[in-house]
Subunit: 408 residues, 2 copies
């Protein structure tokens, strides 16, 4: 199926932090239309405006974050402001433009306020505006549920809006503009050898989502499922970014594509838990109820009928999680241990599939640096270790060398 | 027809200038529900937030005020913010509450962006929320047109929203809370004898619209036409306000109810205009095209085939209006004169109808003070003079005494 000569461009809040920046972005949008493209723009709220709204809400209601219907309406105004300002800027530069709210853009969602999922998109209004030669500026992050109430899509919501619209409009690609220049082999702040990738597959990007570009996994999944190429680049630089694409040739992929790091990691171990069905769910439910995300989960096999159960949380959630564990009263365990100042270090690459050699090489590099590995988990295309935060820099540098990531 | 035990309360921006004020207003709303009333609240945008949005818009587009579709979406966000914050505050105080945008409140308008007129109200959603025992907080000033675009109702728009909703919901009355304590016999800043009125008829209020309570004539007209009693009072004081009502007994009315003053007046006289049909329209059209409001218009009868044509504008528009007059090239006239530092002084009262004695008394009081009267116009229940701004204070004081307005 041939695609329309149309791109969806998404600009994040840091790219829209001032009216001056909005004007610069408007120029960038116009230059794309001058190349003969129809352009649909998706914007986030300006700079800190969302934080300011949250702060106002907490002043009138200390539990405002739990009243999600009202918070959704409140927060959706941030994107309405930035979309109208962008439209006014485009018009002032002589370009036809029109802003559309999520509702007007036809973005229908379920009713889970605060983290709604897009259920359908009716593109009639967008198509009409495009046919009149307008740039269409859509307020990101928001939609409408069946009750006629505004919903928001949660973290990374504007990325999701952009990819979903690109799919619905059969766009050539979805361009995500942000404050980094693309996807790197590892975090450039950690390793000077970090190299920007021209291309990366969806599968690898899913594993590397925390790498440089703070892209939300939902939008990457959408791109993967609907085969919508994503292009990640800098809002204010003209250097080429990174294309995230559906890999078609499984054989010529590089084994290891990048090294992902997350330095905000703490762990909790519940020792000597009676090993019975449902115990993991019982342990994790209080965290889920409290809205605490958990990441790596490791449960060792046991021989004496008990098991040690370990999981990681972000450091900021450690104290709350420990308190919740201490108040578990229907579960038998020996003791609870916690640790912080940890980091998650992963090597990612679709070429690694089924090749145990990569794990061995990774562990041997870390061993040669005297880095202690606390936990290990793997997926088909990723090997993740939990290590001490202080060991990250030397580990990344050595692994970047060992897997020759500086070479294209 | 008996009315529902329901009131619509409207709170203006100065009453919502901080989250602290929003909390105080929430208490006031709850005290009304504790009297057994269903309450629908209409809010304006917080304090200066509308000005801030206009300023952002002008930074990206110097002609932003002419791009009314985008400005309407932008400005409508101010009321969305205040309505959700009010709702969050009510909930934090234990009261069921829900915010509705103008769209959700079913307020349909025509498509004149920036000054749309309400065409219809579908109250289904409000009724549903009221039946679930919620306070319904409606974002004022806004509606939806047939294209699915947000519109705003122009100056005084939130008052209009409130009165229209009160009519549609068959409310007992519509309460307008503001930064003054009610309607006074004259401006309390000008005369110490100014007395707050317990009651005033719609007709009188229409003439006195500039008196103390900055109420928009549109909402008063709506109240008059649909016989919806309006109550104007202070947001933060518990003293009684003023009821604006449909006068039923024409005989027992007081002759003069109040004295209205507008100190922002300038005049333009076009002398020696050829007196022919259509000349007034030709003179005024350029002003209308430039969005300059004119107020008092006086045209003297003529005997020599020419006439002097005088009208007033606000002082801030004087220079622009004079320039427009000087560029009239298809109209014959002798000269253009202009004057500023003028004021409009009116006595208002339904009881004055057809009684020339009131005009005579007014002119004789002004004459005894050596106040020169520049222009005179009258309506059935109002006599208006244009005088020197410096003469206002003594004129108001003397007229207030002469018509015994200090007496209830």
């Amino acid at each position: 199926m041939s695609r329309n000569k149309l791109v969806v461009q998404k600009y994040g809040g840091s790219s829209l932090s001032s009216t001056n920046n909005i004007s610069k972005i408007a120029e960038k949008i116009i230059s794309k239309t001058n190349q003969g493209y129809m352009v649909v723009v998706v914007v986030s709220a300006m700079g800190d405006s969302t934080d300011n709204l949250i702060s106002l809400a907490s002043e009138v209601n200390s539990n405002a974050n739990t009243i999600t219907r009202e918070m959704d309406i409140l927060l959706s105004t941030g994107e309405l402001v930035s979309s109208t300002l962008m439209t006014l800027s485009l018009i002032s530069k002589g370009k036809n433009a029109v802003s559309l709210s999520g509702t007007q853009a036809g973005i229908m969602t379920n009713s889970v306020h605060g983290s709604a999922r897009i259920s359908d998109i009716n593109t009639n209004r967008i198509q009409k505006e495009l046919s009149e030669n307008s740039v269409v500026v859509v307020a990101g992050f928001q939609g409408l549920n069946d009750l006629g109430d505004v919903t928001t899509l949660g973290r990374g919501g504007s990325d999701t809006t952009a990819v979903a619209l690109a799919v619905a409009l059969n766009a050539e690609r979805c361009e995500i503009y942000t404050d980094v220049e693309g996807i790197f082999t590892t975090d450039p702040r950690i390793s000077n050898n970090a190299r920007k990738l021209d291309k990366i597959s969806f599968e690898e990007m899913l594993e590397m989502a925390s790498l440089g570009a703070k892209m939300n996994p939902r939008s990457i999944e959408l791109g993967l499922v609907y085969n919508m190429p994503l292009y990640v680049a800098s809002s204010f630089s003209s250097t080429d970014g990174t294309l995230i694409y559906r890999s078609s040739n499984m054989e010529i992929r590089k084994a290891v594509t990048g090294i992902a790091v997350d330095k905000n990691v703490a762990k909790i171990t519940i020792k000597g838990v009676t090993d019975q069905p449902g115990i993991a769910a019982d342990l994790l439910k209080p965290l889920s109820d409290a809205g605490i995300s958990i990441d790596v989960i490791v449960q060792n096999t046991s021989s004496d009928g008990t098991t040690d159960f370990t999981y990681t949380v972000s450091e900021s959630n450690l104290d709350r999680a420990v308190n919740l564990m201490n108040s578990l009263d229907q579960i038998n365990y020996k003791e609870i241990e916690s640790g912080k100042d940890l980091a998650k270090l992963s090597i990612v690459g679709t070429g690694m599939e089924n090749s145990p050699g990569y794990a061995a090489k990774m562990f041997s590099v870390l061993s040669s640096l005297n880095v202690n590995i606390d936990m290990i988990t793997t997926s088909e295309i990723r090997i993740t270790t939990i290590i001490n935060k202080n060991d990250i820099k030397k580990s990344v540098t050595a692994l970047h060398d060992a897997f020759e990531l500086e070479k294209p």
